[in-house]
């Protein structure tokens, strides 16, 4: 019990004094997860909207796969990206393995299906209401897609948050493709796993608290933006 309270004390001190190592890890984690989520949103949203609006052979299969990929095990994604980026893999010559870029790629693969699948559902629901009105106004398929994405923006924020939540909390994929190299690819989740196994509970706990704090802050901010905007635009 005293170990735990001393760990809490040290953790609080690390956070309050903005420990340089701690800050580096937190910033790198945020940078990687936010970039991965951004790319996942840029690809996943149009993909999800297109799947909601266009009918083509194999569409049902793709939607089913996207839904299945929402629960992809991060270690498996890490393994696949590792195989792609490893020296003997097809993308080996790029030399990306054990770099933050590799971690962004792995997290992108985890977030994109979540954002695409949730977007598909949101846009399909909205299109039920909008379809005839938009066609009547003369909107073509691309304009209709843009309109539905824009008008569904409050619900889609939740999709993006779900994607970010998924990648910011995962450890398996970034550990495999990043290698948890100090000052290079060490992020919050991999550090927590490492420090816990080394018995350095204080740093692990400090990072754990920050991770939870960041997650809560981000979710509350996004929710309040969404609620305010929704009240304004209904």
């Amino acid at each position: 019990m005293s170990d735990l309270s001393s760990a809490f004390g040290t953790a609080a001190s690390l956070i309050l004094h903005l420990d340089a190592d701690l800050l580096e890890i937190v910033l790198l984690s945020l940078q990687i997860s936010l970039l991965a989520t951004l790319f996942a949103a840029l690809i996943g949203m149009p993909l999800g909207a297109a799947l909601a609006l266009y009918r083509f052979p194999g569409r049902g299969f793709i939607v089913a796969m996207l839904n299945a990929f929402m629960g992809l095990p991060p270690v498996v994604v890490g393994l696949v990206v590792y195989l792609l980026l490893s020296r003997s893999g097809p993308l080996g010559p790029l030399g990306l393995l054990f770099t933050p870029t590799a971690m962004v790629i792995a997290q992108f693969m985890l977030a994109a299906p979540i954002i695409a699948a949730l977007t598909q559902q949101t846009v399909a629901d909205l299109n039920e209401e909008y379809d005839e009105q938009l066609r009547s106004l003369g909107a073509g398929p691309l304009r209709a897609m843009r309109t539905l994405l824009w008008d569904g923006r409050f619900s889609l924020l939740t999709a993006v948050l779900a994607g970010f939540g998924r990648v910011s909390a995962e450890v398996g994929a970034v550990l495999i493709v990043g290698g948890n190299i100090n000052h290079v690819t060490r992020v919050m989740t991999t550090t927590i796993a490492l420090e816990t196994s080394k018995g350095n509970l204080a740093l692990a706990l400090a990072l754990g608290l920050i991770l939870i704090g960041l997650s809560i802050t981000l979710t509350f901010t996004a929710q309040s933006i969404r609620d305010t905007a929704y009240r304004h635009y209904h």
């Binding site: 909008y130 005839e132 009105q133 009547s136 106004l137 309109t147 824009w150 008008d151 635009y233 209904h234």
Partner: protein
């Protein structure tokens, strides 16, 4: 199979067209509907509807619930495809005619943006250059008396304001024909009056109005001719004055006298 035909009475024997209406040739009128059928869930909801609608007057489509009034408008706008039959907007099919034909829905979907942006959207969707859009949006806001709500979110407007906005959004594209599906059915008398005034103003500018309604008084106030539909069949196409004074079918007579048609 012999199909029943609607009683057609020439328009010139009825109410005269409003004096201020324009007489320029329309690219999409006359609208010729031939032997139109529509089916859903193995039920035939429109049965061999044939009629010709010309420029220069307003047409009211009357009939009880389930008569097929809204379906007919949606088919004319190319939003749903008929099972058989033909629609010709002066040689154009409904999708080709869409740039000239606007529609106001019973429950219009307003986009999650401001009142002015909703109107602007209709112009942008028709490819009107940005420079011209602002002036036309202002004009539409003035016509519908929505200037003071230009920046307000469309979704928080009252029912009457929303319907006026839907009309503004349809009118701003300067359509030859305005299809309206029960535009006042959900409005209180005050809001209905404002919408009727607006429709009258639009008619006077020369736009052909084709409108469905349940409101007999409204049909008399706004209609030059009446199409009477009952259970998917067109029973009458008659000048409004004659329709209300001497309906040709017993179903229309019953409908006018307030009897329940089933």
């Amino acid at each position: 199979m012999t199909q029943p035909t609607a009683t057609i009475i020439e328009l010139d024997s009825g109410k005269a067209a409003p004096e201020q209406e324009q007489t320029c040739k329309s690219p999409v009128l006359p609208l010729v509907i031939s032997e139109l059928c529509y089916e859903a869930n193995q039920q035939r909801l429109l049965k061999y509807v044939s009629c010709t609608l010309t420029a220069g007057n307003s047409t009211i489509i009357l009939g009880p619930n389930g008569a097929g009034k809204s379906l007919l408008l949606r088919i004319c706008q190319g939003l749903i495809a008929p099972a058989s039959g033909n629609i010709s907007w002066s040689g154009l099919n409904p999708v080709q005619a869409r740039p000239y034909v606007a529609m106001v829905f019973q429950k219009p979907v307003l986009l999650r943006r401001s009142t002015a942006a909703n109107i602007d959207y209709a112009l942008a969707a028709r490819g009107v250059p940005r420079k011209q859009r602002r002036e036309r949006v202002t004009e539409a806001l003035e016509l519908t008396n929505l200037n003071h709500l230009a920046r307000r979110s469309a979704r928080v407007l009252s029912g009457g304001e929303q319907q006026r906005l839907a009309i503004a959004r349809a009118w701003v594209t300067q359509p030859e024909v305005l299809l309206m599906d029960e535009p006042t059915s959900k409005l209180d008398p005050g809001a209905s009056y404002a919408v009727e005034q607006l429709i009258s103003a639009i008619r006077k500018q020369g736009t052909k109005v084709i409108m469905t309604t349940h409101d007999m008084g409204q049909a008399q106030r706004l209609g030059d001719e009446v199409l009477f539909l009952n259970r998917g069949r067109l029973l009458e196409q008659t000048p409004a004055k004659i329709f209300f004074e001497r309906p040709q079918s017993k179903q229309a007579a019953a409908f006018i006298s307030g009897e329940l048609l089933y």
